[in-house]
Subunit: 170 residues, 2 copies
DNA sequence: ATTGACAGTTCTAAAATAGAACTTATGGTC
DNA sequence: GACCATAAGTTCTATTTTAGAACTGTCAAT
């Protein structure tokens, strides 16, 4: 499958993966949330090749996640800053960091701690239901087809039916 | 940078990206949460090449996200099911889906809707502070170095200092 | 005039991925 | 017994992506 095809999938996860689903994009975005804004700073901070950094920044701008803002004329220089669409990625970043904190830390413990300025405490992110406020887990969620579903898609179609068959036989 | 180096970074995001930060792993995990369990079902559902699917499943098992469970002898066959570590990825999956729902859907609307069985309503996931319960946004969070931070790391070190310099000059 | 900062671009070699065919083990059908 | 199907991979070559380093263009300061 090509990357371009991913953008067209009738699946919100696939379409988001088209934006952030490579090795570097999420790391670049982490730096953005840590207030890194300039090309050479990204490069020094991440150890990414300049070639790929240029390519990924271009992609993130194209998707509207970052915006180029001039910070000097002559020579023209730009900073890359998060748009609202980019800021909205924060829950994704935080849930990834949290999973790593729980499952991937070594003996030394967490690399970073997060303080919630509103309440002044160190916190972990918790994902809750928008309607009742209870914490979410996979087993309490049921999935329904929405208006944008496409039946003929390779995703969600054939394999699910086969698996249902398997389940019924068991 | 090599994938192996990513696992060793003193950054919970980088270490999680080492597990799920490629084009296919998240898509495979989505299928897991939709109760796909078998090799050929993953393959038919995703259109991934068999080679890569075998490789990714192996990786996810190695990281303890999936577990192989035999479902028949002669010939020996296995299903891939989520471990608790894998189930804990649910907030990541849901926040990705939600971002796609908000920012990447086309005119037809959302491909899937989510019902919270506990309260019976269609919901969106919301990320809140574990201490005060308020919704989180990047601007209300302050980051502190934790016990596992490494100062000499290429990540978080040089570029941040340079950027601080830049900020001070401005 | 030379050096350094900044933001890229260009180049070659190495690694990862796509796409298709092949393998192994078994059970059922003609 | 020969043939086909199922399931879970493995192997193969061609293409694409990435790594790593060097190079370019613009300007400011020394």
């Amino acid at each position: 499958m090509k990357w371009d095809a991913l953008e067209e999938e009738p699946c919100s996860l696939a379409r988001t993966v088209a934006v952030i689903g490579d090795r570097w994009s999420l790391l670049i975005l982490r730096e953005c949330f840590l207030r890194i804004r300039r090309f050479d700073d990204f490069q020094a901070s991440l150890g990414i090749t300049r070639h790929l950094l240029a390519d990924r920044l271009k992609k993130l701008v194209r998707f509207g996640v970052l915006r180029k803002i001039p910070y000097q004329e002559a020579p023209k220089r730009y900073e890359y800053i998060l748009t609202q669409k980019g800021l909205d990625l924060y829950p994704i970043i935080m849930s990834i960091v949290h999973w790593g904190n729980i499952h991937m830390v070594d003996a030394r413990g967490r690399p970073l701690l997060h303080e919630h300025k509103s309440c002044g405490k160190m916190f972990d992110p918790v994902m809750v239901c928008s309607e009742c406020g209870e914490p979410l887990s996979a087993k309490h969620v049921h999935v329904h087809p929405g208006p944008g579903v496409r039946r003929s898609s390779p995703l969600h179609a054939s394999a699910r039916e086969r698996t249902k068959r398997n389940a019924e036989q068991a």
